[in-house]
Amino acid sequence: MIILKTEDITAGYTEIDILHDVHIRVRSGEIVSVIGPNGAGKSTLLKTIFGILKPRNGNVTFRHEDITGLKPDRIVRKGISYVPQVDNVFPSLTIQENLEMGAFIRNDDYSQRLDEVYDLFPVLRERKKQKVGQLSGGQRQMVAMGRALMLDPQVLLLDEPSAGLAPVLVSMIFEKIKEINATGVAMIIVEQNARGALKMAHHGYVLAMGRNVLDDKGEALLANEEVARLYLGG
């Protein structure tokens, strides 16, 4: 079943459009990777889906409901969570408090969910009283993802989860993404690390200059010679 889709999205920060008629489909439980060169509009796409940016044209549908133009605080209540690329944690709060903030809109007892998130990232449990500002980049990324998972979202939007991390941490984060996905969470991942992103993706999209260029199964894109030459660095 298609859980989230965008149709003919046109959007930009100023009068200049960055996205032109972009369409994307996410089936439930699926990892969708969006790759493309810098400035292709990948992050803009996530921001538009999440309501941070209002599209000039086109629409976003989540579970048969039109959510175009809703504000982020409304969208997050529907079951979509978003992890920005930068500034994605509350640095002066502890790990535990960051996760609590992720569950801010929940009024029920979420201690079980908290446990599940800590099970996914055991290192966070050990340091739950520590301020996030003192953590390393990889751990911060875990906090950011943990915060977004607290609401048990059906779709998780990840903006460049591997950016700025050491190679060994990149593979660790990618492993975690697969683990999260295995619990049934669908995802859209925007990545510079195109090869890694396509490897774990069920489906991949290639964007360039704010337009759809190609889309196919993850492994099919990996095998595509043109994609390899243009976007995977040979």
Binding site: F50, I52, K71, P72, D73, V76, R77, Y82, P84, D87, N88, V89, F90, P91, S92, L93, E97, N98, E100, M101, G102, F104, I105, G133, R147, L151
Partner: protein
């Protein structure tokens, strides 16, 4: 000198109440609220209105608590005035600042608007109460207690210190342990991420104004009890408040507490060499020194 130091702690604790509110607003809503000093004035005069007006009219007895200079009337007026100024701050936000936020106005327009609000508050006080100094209870000062080192301290001043400690402890508990308090700190850290997490930041802003206004009111009343009321009292506090906020690093509540005490002590001790009217200038000189030496303040993270 020891006595001036103690008086400085009393004055500093009052400055801290204002500076903590100022720093919270600065940290969360991101602008310098130049009306904050006048929140102190508003608090002091609303309490005056209650003590000498409403509460005496409905027949609350005028007797004092033990050797303190006030009684039940003030005990009722104090929380009422905190609530009232909290509401004033929220109303100003709804009427003025929210409109500016929606238009994405620059920080300076906000600051200008708060300056206008400062004068609106002050002019209303001038119109209602005139330009003279006023007291909650005219007459002779209560006898002072003798402490070691020849320090004389009035019972009122001891109560002021206790009340400030109580209010700050309460705020600390609120910020550290309640959901709303944590969300306030989160919003101060990163407003966009707070929105993304589903935190209703407009509600956070309302809470921030309410708390900031209420603490300022408390500071104003306590100053009124300790010294006197005057329509310009808040304006004279403005520079000390900013000096305390900057000294303690903007956005840092505990810094504002330390900053407030430091400024209060410095102002009070300076009266050994300078005319007391120079107190705002002393705060100003300290502020300039901080800006030269360590503009991010002593706890300096965010600049």
């Amino acid at each position: 000198m020891a006595e001036l130091f103690i008086y400085g702690i009393v004055l500093g604790s009052i400055i801290s109440l204002g500076a903590i509110g100022l720093t919270l607003v600065y940290g969360i809503i991101r602008f310098a609220n130049f009306a904050h000093g006048d929140f102190l004035t508003a608090g002091a005069y609303i309490a005056l209105f209650m003590v000498t007006g409403v509460l005496s009219w409905i027949g609350i007895p005028d007797s004092n608590f033990g050797s303190l200079s006030f009684g039940w009337r003030m005990a009722i007026a104090f929380p009422f005035s905190m609530l009232a100024v909290g509401c004033v701050a929220i109303v100003l936000d709804r009427v003025l600042y929210r409109k500016l936020r929606r238009k994405a106005s620059g920080a300076v327009i906000f600051a200008m608007s708060s300056l206008g609000a400062a004068f609106i508050i002050r002019m209303i006080i001038f119109i209602l109460w005139g330009a003279d100094s006023l007291f909650y209870r005219p007459g002779i000062l209560r006898p002072a207690l003798e402490l070691p080192l020849g320090i004389k301290i009035r019972p009122d001043q001891i109560l002021i210190l206790l009340l400030v400690v109580f209010l700050i402890t309460l705020l600390h508990f609120f910020l550290q342990n309640t959901k709303m308090g944590k969300a306030m700190r989160a919003t101060a850290d990163n407003m966009e991420l707070a929105l993304i997490s589903g935190i209703d930041t407009e509600r956070i802003i309302i809470w921030t104004w309410g708390i900031g206004g209420a603490l300022a009111a408390a500071g104003g009343i306590l100053y009124g009890i300790d010294v006197q009321l005057h329509p310009h009292m808040g304006w004279n506090f403005l520079i000390p408040l900013f000096a305390a906020t900057i000294l303690g690093s903007i956005g840092n509540m505990y810094g504002a507490l330390i900053g407030g005490l430091t400024i209060g002590v410095a102002q009070q001790v300076s009266t050994a060499f300078l005319l007391p009217t120079y107190k705002p200038a002393v705060a100003f000189i300290i502020m300039i020194l901080i800006l030269l030496i360590r503009p991010q303040g002593i706890f300096g993270g965010r600049s």
